[in-house]
Symmetry: C2
Subunit: 147 residues, 2 copies
């Protein structure tokens, strides 16, 4: 096939929109991988672009790097991930997103009913002590960052 152009950090940074320092950082966290040239410089397969894109998208919906790392770890280390490999990830995260969306809706509606009603002492407000509070979410993203 085409001679698999390898990318430098700078190129990855440019194409992915993340800083070089962030790429270094992701690498220390095991989210992406590179091999080195004889001169010790990083070279990435094009693969990395998708990884980085996913990292960013996932972060935007609030999945922590640690969790993204876990998810990405489920991808095959030896070979380039197939569409099916990515599909698994997508499915897992879709569920998490569905969950999160549902919770936000509940909060939104609850907030409107609740905010002016005087019921917000922790022991009485349905919003505050539902038992299924966001805070308790075990699976999936615990943080929604949209910085």
């Amino acid at each position: 096939m085409a001679p698999v152009t390898e990318l430098t950090v700078g190129q990855v940074a440019m194409r992915s929109g993340v800083a070089v320092s962030a790429l270094h950082f992701y690498e220390t966290r095991g989210l992406i991988r590179s091999h080195r040239t004889s001169g010790n410089q990083r070279r990435y397969g094009r693969d990395v672009l998708r990884r980085v894109a996913i990292i960013k998208v996932a972060q935007e919906v609030g999945i922590s790097l640690a969790e993204i790392g876990e998810a990405l770890a489920s991808l095959p280390e030896g070979r380039t991930p197939t569409r099916d490999d990515w599909g698994l990830l997508s499915t897992a995260w879709r569920d998490a997103l569905d969950h999160k969306i549902a919770q936000l809706k509940k909060l939104r509606d609850g907030l409107i009913d609740c905010i002016g009603c005087g019921c917000m002492s922790i022991d009485k407000c349905p919003l505050r002590n539902k038992g299924d509070r966001l805070a308790k979410e075990g699976t999936g993203a615990r943080r929604l960052v949209a910085t």
Copy 2:
């Protein structure tokens, strides 16, 4: 009316479910206020319970303390907020939540279409460079924290 029982930090902490240290912290950030006894101890009006409840709920949906602070600052400083005062807040945040929910949905759906499709280089993927990226959200919450 009833003789407005004032609350100590400990009582507020217990009733609101946040740590004393967090209450101190919120105070330094201007999110809540107290007056002091002759012995320099904090005393809170019952008002503070609702404030704290709202702080927590807002945080759970990802509004930063800074933004919560701004919102709360819109409440009247001199008097106990009326239902209408709180109503304004509620409305503002409902909009932010609606927005956020919509974005999450878009991301969820986009992710599914996109994640396995090879389109994720920053310059081509609809998810990554829509112009209305989460990252750019000016109004309302920039962070969704569901710790």
